[in-house]
């Protein structure tokens, strides 16, 4: 079944002609059509475009052309990435019906790699949330338990990969929006170093934190996708990305010897609020590392408690600014003036964050909130720098609990915000992090762990992640 193949397997079979890209696309489209009614991973399935792209890949092979590194591989796209001529909504009423006139850089790069874009996936509106329940077009359900959320905000992409709708998906991670849903859905999800992947065409939530990254069912597939994403941006259209520092990656190191590798365990990430089964998964991963000869060291990230408040000030100030453009002059249904149109077009969580961000950046309050948050951010970055003097990779939980029930946290924003307590640090510090599945709960829900590495050291982080995966 093509839908159970990994991305690398599909690429290899399509390249040799053992499978056609069309057959791969059709199999995935058929599965989506049969099963997505109950999951709702997709907001828009790109059936015609996917078949046409698959045919083009097959034709290129027949003509003797050299196929790209993702030849014929279906990729699901989070619906906050601009796709030329294809609806791009951010799961918001305010962008309903908008079709971007351009492709995001990562979309250009996927097309150039001969990938097949299969559809646009659901998310929390403007990527603001941790459960995908904040979508204006209805929630996504967790393929492992339809009464539960897939996490968020990239819940649609995580669910699509978990359900076998695509072997690969793109998400965006501002405070954990790739890694937390990956953990909830039992797939691999990775946030690159800030600046590794161009943000051009990623509809901004919080510019200094947002980063596009891969979802997959194993570490190697994520690596293959990341290599495609992190290449040079045409015309350097994202001034905050610096792809040269990430160039020259080869194949994944599948056999990194762990002897001498120092695995740091931050004590602040293993205390109150962590579900015992999630804690047990981290302990099990630690034993697996030890079994392979890695050295376990305790490290400290003393400003961890400042992570969530810092994140919710930095992110909301930038969000309030980034979302100012949605005034119904250019986008969205006009309902009277700009203020009323925004009132009608944005959902409650988006409004909450715009209000918070506007307040925190207002004259007279900015120093007390936003400027202070920038200082706290610096302290959090220093914590990681310090920790990485003592270890090579940090092992910690991804989310405090396994996937929670729909509606369970939606009445209490603070509880929802705390879903990101172990993930926001990597965004504030700009470092890479990867969530990998690690066991199953008694309730048969996926469990997982997170590995964090120093900035720009994705190759080492992936090799350690692959070693852990191999010990499973």
């Amino acid at each position: 079944m093509p839908t159970s193949l990994t991305a690398v397997q599909i690429r290899d079979k399509v390249t040799t002609g053992e499978l056609t890209a069309r057959a791969v696309a059709e199999a995935h489209l058929a599965k989506i059509e049969a099963e997505d009614g109950k999951i709702h991973a997709f907001l828009h399935v790109m059936k015609e475009e996917a078949l046409a792209a698959a045919d083009a890949v097959d034709a290129k092979r027949k003509a003797g052309g050299k196929l790209g590194p993702l030849a014929g591989v279906p990729v699901a796209i989070k619906d906050n990435l601009c796709t030329k001529g294809v609806p791009t909504t951010c799961a918001s009423r305010i962008l309903e019906g908008w079709r971007p006139p351009y492709d995001a850089t990562v979309i250009e790069r996927l097309r150039a790699a001969d990938a097949v874009l299969i559809g646009k996936t659901n998310l929390d509106e403007f990527a603001m949330g941790s459960s995908t329940e904040n979508s204006a077009f209805g929630p996504t359900r967790n393929p492992h338990d339809l009464t539960r959320t897939p996490g968020g905000s990239s819940g649609g992409s995580a669910a699509a990969v978990a359900a076998g709708f695509a072997p690969l998906a793109l998400g965006s991670d501002t405070g954990g929006s790739i890694r937390q849903p990956a953990a909830c859905c039992g797939v691999v999800g990775m946030k690159p170093t800030y600046g590794a992947v161009s943000r051009y065409g990623l509809i901004a939530f919080a510019s200094s934190l947002d980063q596009v990254g891969p979802f997959s069912r194993n570490v190697e597939d994520a690596w293959e996708l990341l290599k495609v994403l992190s290449g040079k941006d045409r015309d350097s259209r994202d001034q905050t990305s610096y792809p040269a520092a990430f160039a020259g990656w080869g194949p994944l190191n599948r056999d990194l010897p762990l002897g001498g590798v120092r695995i740091g365990m931050p004590k602040e990430y293993l205390g109150d609020g962590l579900d015992p089964e999630c804690r047990a998964a981290v302990d099990a991963a630690r034993r697996a590392f030890e079994g392979r000869g890695a050295t376990i060291v305790e490290v400290s990230l003393p400003n961890t408690a400042q992570g969530i408040p810092t994140y919710y000030l930095v992110a909301t100030v930038e969000a309030a600014s980034n979302l100012a453009r949605y005034d119904a002059t250019h986008f969205g249904v006009r309902k009277g003036d700009a203020a009323h149109s925004r009132g009608a077009g944005f959902g409650p969580e988006v409004k909450r964050r715009i209000a918070l961000g506007t307040f925190a950046s207002s004259a007279g309050y900015s120093d007390a909130y936003y400027v202070k948050a920038l200082k706290a951010r610096r302290l959090i970055l220093n914590d990681f720098d310090e920790a990485f003097r003592r270890c090579d990779v940090i092992l910690c939980p991804t989310a405090p609990t396994p996937a929670f029930k729909l509606g369970e946290k939606s009445a209490d924003p603070i509880q929802m915000y705390l879903s990101d307590v172990y993930t926001v640090g990597a965004n504030l510090a700009g470092i890479p992090g990867i969530a990998i599945p690690w066991g199953t709960s008694k309730g048969r829900l996926p469990l997982g762990v997170q590995l964090l590495g120093p900035a720009q050291q994705e190759d080492r982080l992936f090799a350690v992640a692959r070693a852990l995966e191999g010990a499973r």
């Binding site: 994202d238 506007t358 207002s362």
Partner: protein, 477 residues
């Protein structure tokens, strides 16, 4: 206190469009006058997902502005977002520079006084709202959105409307000479806001200031300042207080009207632009010292040199240096024709009248500096009087500028023959006996009338010097 004793305190905020081919953060054209919304792209439309990329040519021109305005040009500055909702602002924030501008602490000398410049910062322009095409709707033209500007903020150093206009005139000349901007007020590439307040005397604290916008000429700036002075003086004389507000200048009535109050400060929620790293000039390959070395001659130095080198009158120099193309034309011609004062006389009158005043740029005027030099040499040889020369100039211009061809049939040379001239003078004395008598009895002014009569009879060909000598010989021997 009466209105005469209030002293005005004036500050200027000037927005200048940098002379670049493309916009500040995208590759769209900055050309003026294109069809609405034809010079836009996803970036300057503020489409979701787009990001700014600084145009280094704009950065270079902003640094150049700092150099000619004697500013500190900061090797590192940064961009910030300035937030306000307005339909001509696609992102509803403007990328500007807040606390670390590219240029700071400069000055400009104008009319013999030094005016301090607080800062000059880079920012993107907004679009344009068009209200008069559709009775039911306003339209938005975003061709101008994202066009690069420097905002040059002066200290409140002006004490008279004349000083403000002198500063603006010099600012425009300097920025044009350096190639920073075209500074065309009609095209909006120079826009000016004025802050005016009154105080009781030179040592009194500043009063409440009022900002005046919608100024579209230097004359308007002058009128607006004078109007504000008298309006505010009347308010203060009546024992009331001046309201902090933004007012709009009305060119037809030469008054200002209130636009909006500034009593509650608007909150732009400035914060550092997260999409752009700090702007570092050296890293970007912009060498401020090289900009300084590469500067062309600036207006003040040029005026000094023209006075010295050509022995011109200050007033002529002022006219010749108003536009660079005039200065260049003059200097090209002065290199070929030795009498610079004569040339200046022709240039500021006939040459400009037949070219620029008729909508022909000097660069494409048929009388090139070479032809003009040939023409003036021809006139010197013929020795005709000025009105006849003017006639011939017109003839040459209408014939397309070739002096030799246009004047080949013109036979008139000055009449220098003493016998012929004496006959003419005697004839005039006969016909205008009373005037001749006035001259003879000491009224010098009468001579010009008598001379005029001789010129008339000779059709302008009589040599003036010889004629006046004969009158002298005849009437005041």
């Amino acid at each position: 206190m009466t209105s005469e004793t209030w002293q005005p305190v004036i500050g200027l905020e000037v927005h200048v469009q940098l002379k670049t081919r493309t916009k500040l953060f995208c590759a769209c054209s900055t050309a003026f006058g294109a069809r609405p919304n034809t010079q836009t792209c996803p970036v300057c439309l503020g489409l979701p997902g787009t990001l700014p990329v600084p145009n280094l040519e704009a950065v270079r021109k902003a640094a150049l502005a700092g150099v000619v305005l004697h500013c500190t040009v900061n090797d590192e500055s940064k961009f910030d977002r300035k937030h306000y909702f307005y339909p001509d602002l696609p992102k509803n924030y403007q990328i500007s520079q807040f606390d670390r501008p590219i240029c700071s602490n400069g000055f400009l000398e104008a009319g013999g006084k030094k005016f301090r410049i607080l800062r000059a910062h880079l920012e993107e322009d907004a679009g344009k709202l068009i209200h008069d095409q559709d009775p039911a709707n306003s339209k938005v033209d975003l061709n101008r959105a994202g066009v690069p500007l420097v905002e040059i903020v002066s200290e409140a150093d002006f004490r008279h409307a004349d000083e403000a206009v002198a500063y603006l005139t010099e600012l425009r000349a300097v920025l044009r000479a350096a190639g920073v901007s075209d500074c065309e007020m009609q095209e909006g590439s120079l826009r000016c806001d004025v802050n005016v307040s009154l105080r009781a005397g030179p040592d009194a604290p500043f009063g409440t200031k009022v900002e005046v916008k919608n100024l579209n000429s230097f004359k308007g700036v002058h009128k607006a300042i004078l109007f504000e002075q008298s309006r505010q003086a009347a308010v203060l004389d009546a024992g009331q207080r001046v309201v902090s507000e933004t007012r709009s200048f009305q060119a037809d009535s030469e008054t200002t009207v209130s636009l909006r109050s500034k009593e509650v400060a608007s909150d732009y929620r400035f914060f550092p632009e997260p999409d752009l790293p700090p702007l570092k000039l050296r890293e970007a390959g912009i060498d401020v010292e090289a900009l300084r070395r590469g500067l062309p001659e600036l207006p003040a130095a040029q005026r000094e040199r023209l006075l010295r080198q050509y022995g011109l009158k200050p007033y002529d120099v002022e006219i010749l240096t108003r536009e660079r193309e005039v200065t260049e034309w003059f200097e090209a011609c002065a290199g070929l024709y030795p009498n610079a004062q004569t040339l200046a006389g022709w240039l500021k009158t006939e040459v400009l009248e037949f070219s620029v005043n008729r909508g022909v740029a000097l660069a494409s005027f048929c009388m090139t500096p070479q032809r003009m030099a040939a023409f003036l040499a021809d006139m010197d040889r013929r020795g005709l009087n000025r009105s006849r020369q003017r006639e011939l100039f017109g003839k040459v211009v209408s014939a397309g500028g070739d002096v030799a061809t246009a004047l080949q049939d013109v036979k008139d040379e000055a009449i220098g023959d003493a016998g012929a001239l004496e006959a003419l003078v005697d004839e005039v004395i006969r016909e205008h006996g009373p005037v001749a008598e006035q001259y003879r009895t000491g009224k010098d002014e009468a001579l010009s009338f008598l001379m005029g009569q001789v010129m008339k009879k000779s059709k302008g060909r009589a040599k003036g010097g010889a004629v006046s000598a004969i009158f002298l010989k005849r009437l005041r021997p």
